[in-house]
């Protein structure tokens, strides 16, 4: 499988604290990957680096078939290149309807001039409807997204990510605060999404990771501690030490 994203030898220091320490990571074109690790392992910082929010002190981040470096690109350019990100806390535009949220995320020209002249055509509205069906929000299309429940907001954000049609999806704790049924639904959406694109899921909950049934990367103190199937990494003595304490 060809590599979509390759992070190699990346280090970041915040005020002397090494948040990421010589981290290397790669993911293929259509792959589902779970990233686990204790608090402060650098999971969110890792996402910040890939999406351009944080600039690493050293290392390389290469993207796509042409192995383009992401380090020089702005957040908006990286997002346009095909990397979508879901935050830990659901961040949707609460003042706007579900439909407006999804329309804004839809993959269309992003410059202000083209947005100024943009009017949704029938195919765009149909696509929004289709996405809403996938995340179970068809009924709520014209509702303000601020009125939605926590779980629905999480889905709306996942829906917005899918609307962007990214080649790589970075998902930070998608199941936080969800009921068991909602979790199952979220797993389905992510597994389905990973059939056509790369998906990286950061998660604390082992049960959730088990249901994803994919390769797992364990981070600890800013570096990769172990990688493999969930059973393989949970059998690893280092991982047990990190998670359960020495």
């Amino acid at each position: 499988m060809s590599t979509l994203l390759e992070v190699s030898g990346v280090s970041v220091t915040f005020d002397g604290f090494r948040a990421i320490n010589n981290l290397s990571f790669r993911i293929g074109e259509a792959e589902l990957r779970a990233v686990i690790g204790p608090n402060g392992a650098g999971k969110t910082t890792f996402m910040d680096i890939v999406t351009g929010k944080t600039r690493p002190d050293e290392g390389r981040v290469l993207w796509g078939d042409k192995s383009q470096s992401l380090l020089k690109m702005s957040e908006a350019r990286i997002a346009q290149a095909g990397i979508g990100r879901k935050f830990q806390k659901p961040t949707v535009f609460e003042d706007q309807t579900v439909q407006e949220n999804l329309l804004m995320a839809l993959k269309k020209p992003r410059s202000w001039l083209s947005v100024l002249g943009y009017r949704p055509v029938a195919s765009d509205l149909a696509r929004v409807e289709e996405l809403a069906a996938e995340i179970g929000l068809v009924e709520a299309l014209s509702r303000k997204s601020g009125e939605l429940s926590h779980g629905q907001k999480q889905w709306l954000e996942i829906g917005m990510l899918l609307a962007q049609e990214p080649r790589l999806l970075l998902v930070d704790e998608p199941a936080a605060g969800m009921t068991p049924t909602e979790r199952e639904h979220t797993t389905d959406i992510l597994v389905r999404a990973a059939q056509t694109r790369a998906v990286v899921v950061v998660e604390h909950d082992m049960e959730f990771v088990r249901r994803l049934n994919c390769k797992v990367t364990v981070l600890h103190e800013g570096a990769v501690l172990a990688e493999g199937s969930l059973d393989h990494v949970t059998a690893n003595q280092d991982v047990i030490d990190v998670y359960l304490g020495r």
């Binding site: 929010k53 908006a76 350019r77």
Partner: protein, 409 residues
């Protein structure tokens, strides 16, 4: 613009209708063309108020919709006024100079005329040479273009520097204050080329126009009303579609918009520059009605008043900004003009000329605390009363116990 824009924004039509009725009524009551109930000076006050409403629309666009609290938009307003004022003053002085020189025996040369105009205009600051910035002052067309170009360019450069460095929130507000303060201080200097603290005066006299002020005041009222109407429609159109969706997104969560792939900085810059141009046009219409412009007009306090108007009117809705600007500035004219009756308390007499600012400050605080939607929020009360959102058809006595879906209607 298409039909669905008007259909989905009925408030735009209502606004335009109100504006048209207002203009018509003032015209009928005026001294210039009507029955003479409303004095010319009050027509000018109303015309100026319309210009203030226009800059309030611009302020609402940048503050209420993009979330940038700019405390410097009166700098653009004043610059627009200066640009048109330069032509008005130059041309009128030229006509006077040519008139008086024609009395002399030898016809004056072009250089003599220019020198005489320079003497007339700059004598007050002890100079007679035309500074470089007056190079286009003899051309109305060029000077009109500069009304938009100079403030637009200033906004573009300032905004590019500020937004590119990701300056946001209160820091950006302070930067905009600094900008308008720096401009005011610069203009106060005698060698700024714009007559220092004397400013430009006599702007109410249109060169070559023989009509009386009674009529000229109405022309400006109409022009101001037209500009306000056009600016309002433009702003409503901007905030309506996907562009509006994106800028409101920037207001609520800038980082999220960025991760959706939108270049937040270019959106901010576009709206900032556009609102600066709208403010400049408003200023270019305002100062010929005021008759004089001086650097005190671009002092930081003016831009703070602007924010107060929009806050009291209700930011985030365009008609709120218009109502706030009209209401507060007219009230301010009433209180500070000595028309408001003093309140004798026995031991102390409240003179509104002194106490108006205190009243304004208190009402600003009260509105912010207890009615964050401002005056515009009152319209919500009316619409909520008229059509309560109960969702259901009247099922009548038989089906009354059923839910709407059960009854199959």
């Amino acid at each position: 613009m298409n039909r669905s824009f008007v259909a989905k924004n009925p408030s735009v039509l209502i606004f335009l209708a109100c504006l048209a009725v207002f203009t018509l009524v003032v015209t009928i009551l005026s001294e210039g063309f009507g029955i003479g109930v409303v004095s010319t000076s009050f027509v000018k006050t109303l015309g100026k108020t319309l210009c203030l409403c226009l800059i309030a629309v611009a302020m609402d666009l940048i503050w209420g919709f993009v979330g940038i609290l700019s405390l410097g938009h009166f700098a653009f307003f004043g610059l627009g006024g200066y640009m048109i004022g330069m032509w008005l003053m130059y041309e009128r002085t030229r006509l006077i100079v040519v008139e008086s020189l024609s009395q002399s025996d030898i016809p004056p040369t072009a250089a003599e005329v220019t020198d005489a105009i320079g003497n007339q205009i700059f004598g007050v600051v002890g100079a007679s040479e035309f500074p470089l910035i007056w190079v286009f002052a003899d051309s109305l067309v060029l000077q009109l273009a500069l009304v938009v170009l100079v403030p637009g360019l200033l906004a573009l450069v300032f905004g590019w520097l500020a937004f590119r460095s990701r300056v946001t929130g209160v820091y950006l507000s302070i930067l905009t204050q600094a900008m308008t303060l720096a401009l005011a201080l610069y203009l106060f200097q005698n060698d700024s080329g714009l007559r220092g603290n004397n400013g430009l005066s006599g702007l109410q006299n249109l060169p070559g126009v023989t009509a009386s002020q009674d009529q000229v005041s109405l022309w400006f009222l109409w022009a101001s009303a037209a500009a306000l109407g056009a600016g309002y429609v433009l702003a409503a159109w901007l905030v309506w579609g996907k562009f509006g969706s994106v800028i409101r997104g920037i207001r609520d969560n800038e980082a999220r918009v960025r991760f959706l792939g939108y270049s937040v900085e270019s959106y901010k810059l576009a709206v900032f520059t556009l609102t600066a141009c709208i403010a400049a046009i408003a200023g270019a219409l305002y100062y010929p009605q005021a008759g004089i412009i001086n650097p005190a007009e671009v002092a930081p306090i003016a831009s703070i008043y602007l924010a107060v108007w929009v806050a009291i009117g209700g930011r985030g809705r365009l008609y709120g900004a218009v109502i706030g600007a009209a209401f507060v500035s007219l009230l301010s004219t009433w209180f500070t003009g000595g028309q408001a009756p003093d309140i004798p308390l026995g031991f102390y007499t409240i003179k509104w000329v002194d106490w108006w600012l205190v009243l304004l400050g208190v009402s600003f605080v009260l509105v912010t605390l207890f009615a964050p939607k401002g005056i515009g929020g009152l319209f919500d009360l009316i619409t909520a009363r008229r059509s309560p959102d109960r969702h259901g058809a009247d099922l009548g006595p038989d089906d009354g116990a059923l839910r709407e879906q059960e009854a199959g209607r």
